[in-house]
Subunit: 332 residues, 2 copies
């Protein structure tokens, strides 16, 4: 089957069990979000993500307000990757009954949710609360694309297309390594920006909207599981392979310095690091980031090309091709 | 504040933290579902519910297929209570990594989801999977009400209205007591119908749609936490009190027999038992269940009246009024 991951394979199996389909939904399971077309041809996108204590976050390293904000960002990033504006959210919260500061922590989580809602101007319209063994946040987000425009999808990339990423990657994983080594309080000041990337990531909502209006863009997804896994996925969805080409400018001197201190390879962070919430997209040769309104597109870099000559993900170091394997997060 | 529960009180506090609202959503937090009005005036309703292992279900007593089906029914019942038809669902699943039959159980859960989807003809359009400490199912359901009609809400009941319930209650709690006493296998055959009510409840989708078309119906919610809590809630939402009046026909001889064996009061099951998924609704005097198309309305019983003379929930036994306190499920 050559699926990008065992998770991908399981989802395909579950999809085949679910036999009911509706013409109202142009995209059901399998993209970053579902797409519903209304009678007036406006599109609603729907996406849902789980944040589980000790799997996706640790309460020792982040405040509850930061955890709430980041849980919302995880969904906002899926919204960005379709080129949609966030419209509303529903929140499911499981809390551990034995937390002595339970109500305070619930309120801080909701302050974090509200920080994201206020920044991107959308309401929380519903939810559910239950006790359980640990903290779990499930968010369902609705986004909106007006009738004159389109949603961007994982499918649509063509052989010869360029693969772009919307900014520097590896920062979130570098920040996680700082937290593991030093904790929040004792991370050296010079590396605190990496911790910031991990605890308060930035979803690319504005850039996603700008890119949907550009006909040179063929396909898009967000970078939640790392380039190595997500670039392989976008290739797989289009029956193509991807050849990555990085130049040294993709790894900052500060990241190299941190890698030496932690005895880690920062190149691994850059291609394996998840939770970046940058956008990964395919474009024709004609795409020029300078022509996109706003500043964010200036940070975009072409990091590879799509090919029909081979499947899977490859790295070209200037001399030869090496196959890249996924170390990104896998639940199964 | 006189809220119907501490949970209700917490939700009010969380609502006040969430400061962004949107004119597109007629109802945000606080009813059984949110209501979104599209440009063409069709209404989409959105509801979300959590099912947590050992809080809402036990894997010892139900198959995974039954657990999946019932999780969907919990949401379908919220959809029914607005008078909507189910349109699509998103599923969030947390699974315990140490389950030796993990993949098999995930597939059985999805078979249960699909049983409900096939019966009411709606697709699963998305979801998310993560490992965690125990089984947790979070479902977000979308429903649809055509532009010529209306959604039914918790608000709208008037003093003098009759309070109706769509069928016999207490069966699900009676079934739970059978499971606690005898387990699934050793429950006596004559009481197995109570266990069936608990493990395979019936959402009142068809009745909900029929009632929305009847102008005598003023307000509606579903019975997920028991009459004692939910009737109090519908009164509270309308600034009214509720006076319950049951006749003996509301408790079946079989339930009385089970109550004697288990040394429990079946009247408590009837008014405190949750997870019934019957509808609770307010109507004017002119409502006649016989005029509603289909058979289900024949089972409806008037069990009380709304009053502005007193707040809270009261029981009239034919001689005097007694205040009824809530023992229904409370997470906090």
């Amino acid at each position: 089957m050559n699926h990008p991951s065992t998770e991908h394979e399981l989802i395909s199996e579950l999809k085949s069990l679910l036999q009911i389909h509706s013409p109202r939904y142009e995209i059901e399971i399998g993209d970053d979000a579902a797409v519903r077309r209304g009678n007036n041809s406006d599109q609603i996108i729907l996406t849902t993500d789980l944040c589980v204590q000790d799997v996706h976050f640790k309460t020792e390293w982040m405040t509850f307000r930061e955890i709430g904000y980041k849980a919302m960002v995880t969904n906002l990033s899926d919204c960005a990757s379709m080129g949609a504006s966030p419209e509303s959210a529903l929140i499911q919260l499981v809390f551990p009954k034995n937390d002595p500061a339970l109500l305070e922590h619930i309120i801080q989580l909701y302050q974090g949710f509200n920080d994201a809602c206020a920044r991107w101007d959308f309401p929380v319209i519903g939810g559910d609360l239950s006790c359980g063994n640990s903290w779990i946040i499930g968010i369902t987000l609705l986004g909106h694309v007006p009738s004159h425009s389109r949603t961007l999808r994982r499918s649509g990339a063509q052989a010869g297309d360029c693969l772009w990423v919307s900014g520097e990657t590896g920062k979130s994983l570098a920040g996680l390594h700082c937290l593991q080594k030093w904790g929040r309080k004792h991370t050296p000041d010079k590396f605190k920006s990496f911790v910031d990337s991990h605890v308060r990531p930035e979803p690319q909502i504005g850039l996603g909207i700008a890119l949907r209006e550009n006909v040179a863009i063929h396909a898009m997804m967000d970078l939640s599981d790392g380039i190595a896994k997500d670039a392989r996925t976008i290739g797989y969805e289009n029956g193509l392979g991807v050849i990555l080409k990085f130049d040294s400018s993709h790894i900052s001197p500060l990241m190299i310095e941190l890698g030496e201190i932690l005895d880690s390879n920062p190149f691994e962070w850059v291609i394996q690091g998840g939770e970046e919430y940058e956008l990964l997209f395919a474009s024709s040769d004609s795409f020029n980031p300078g022509s996109v309104p706003g500043d964010t597109a200036r940070r975009c870099k072409c990091i590879g090309t799509f090919t029909k000559e081979r499947k899977g993900l490859w790295y070209h170091d200037g001399y030869s091709l090496t196959e890249v394997h996924t170390k990104g997060w896998n639940h199964l």
